[in-house]
């Protein structure tokens, strides 16, 4: 990616030491993280994080949809009339969501049932729409892919943290970790799991604290007067 990044840096006349691609990557993952900083697409972040596995599958779905839709929107950016760009974006996003949904139904029907309507709801997920509108419409295809991946990873990071914490506190074990490492870690013998964190209120409170933690590590610049 370094070579591409360099190339973009030069062609766009903004060759900072890190290059445009790398900068975009950092923006999406940390400085402008879609969930913790921009607070977009929170619905799914709350709904599917009751276990780590759900959270990661959902993140994969979003990563796929946002990368592909950014690519297509960016390729078509000069051919799309301004007035109908929203509808075009929604149609592109919906297409990829359908692709992923069918894929999930075919290969992983159990997960498809567990995620319920939330895969379909990626269509109205503000992150995907927001990146298409704010980034892919103005930038060349390769850079848009990088931006899609960066935001997808940023989203996955937050979802992974919340999913891990909620499953761990709520059940005393993390299925996916046990499955991957063939371990039998299960604290529920001596630890009374706090079921509340699995239920809806736990999601809100966990995300609230996580956002506060991120704010504490890196104080936001434009939060003045917001309440």
């Amino acid at each position: 990616m370094g070579a591409q990044a360099q190339q973009f840096g030069q062609t766009r006349g903004a060759g900072a030491c890190c290059g445009k691609g790398c900068q975009t990557l950092k923006e999406g993952i940390w400085h402008n993280n879609p969930i913790s900083i921009q607070v977009l697409g929170v619905c799914s972040a709350l709904a599917v994080t009751n276990s780590l596995e759900n959270a990661l599958v959902m993140s994969g779905a979003l990563l796929f949809v946002i990368t592909m839709s950014n690519l297509i929107v960016s390729l078509l950016r000069n051919a799309t009339p301004r007035r109908i760009r929203m509808i075009a974006e929604v149609a592109i996003i919906a297409t990829f969501v359908i692709v992923f949904d069918l894929f999930l139904k075919a290969y992983y029907p159990e997960m498809s049932k567990r995620l319920g309507p939330y895969v379909g709801l990626i269509i109205t997920n503000c992150i995907v729409m927001g990146r298409a509108e704010a980034f892919a419409l103005q930038n060349p295809p390769l850079l848009s892919i990088v931006d899609g991946i960066a935001n997808g990873i940023g989203y996955a990071m937050v979802l992974g943290i919340i999913g891990f914490l909620r499953e761990f506190v709520g059940t005393g074990k993390v299925e996916l970790v046990n499955k991957l490492f063939r371990s039998q870690l299960d604290l529920s013998q001596w630890y009374m799991p706090n079921q509340l964190i699995i239920l809806a209120p736990g999601a809100f409170i966990a995300l609230g604290f996580l956002i506060a933690l991120f704010n504490w590590i890196k104080p936001p610049e434009t939060q003045e007067g917001k309440m």
Binding site: G41, N125, I205, G208, M227
Partner: protein, 202 residues
Amino acid sequence: MNETHALLIVVAAIFTNNILLSNFLGMCSFLACSRQIDTAIGLGAAVVFVMVCTTTLNYFIYYGILVKDAALCSMDLTPLTFIVFIAVIAAFVQFVEMFIERFSQKLYYALGVFLPLITVNCAILGAALFMVIRKYSFLQTVGFGFGAGIGWALAIILIAGLRRKMHYSNVPTPFRGVAISMIVTGIMAMTFLGLSGMVSIQ
């Protein structure tokens, strides 16, 4: 087919299965528009109206056209569900906006400004998808659309009131803004959870 009475579904969708507090749908506009009570009421009313109409409309389209061996088209078009639903919602919202702009200026200023926001409100699409997943009948669909809309409106109005009060509290700096709203919403979800023994819909 599930057998719950339509009126029960209305009550359940407002209190026990609140679309915002237990299904997390419509968070984006919820966080953006819950600073003022007036705005919250306007947006809530618009959501109730659009939700009832679009879930009903989508019900007819889904069972009339999309499913296999439906009345109008015998092909199985269910893979297109998402794209059809979102198109119906967008078209309906656009239509209503033009309609009320032409016929009632007053209503347009009260409600119309919120309409474009609603197309991308995931609660609307979510309600339509729940209707499909839970296999509701026609009456149940109308009941669910209405109840879910009222439930969403109720939640956003309550939060708007709480956020107004929060202006006077001394919130620790990292929690200011979204973080504290999330936690307050969580506590509100907890109180709604207290009602969950009453009725339940799945």
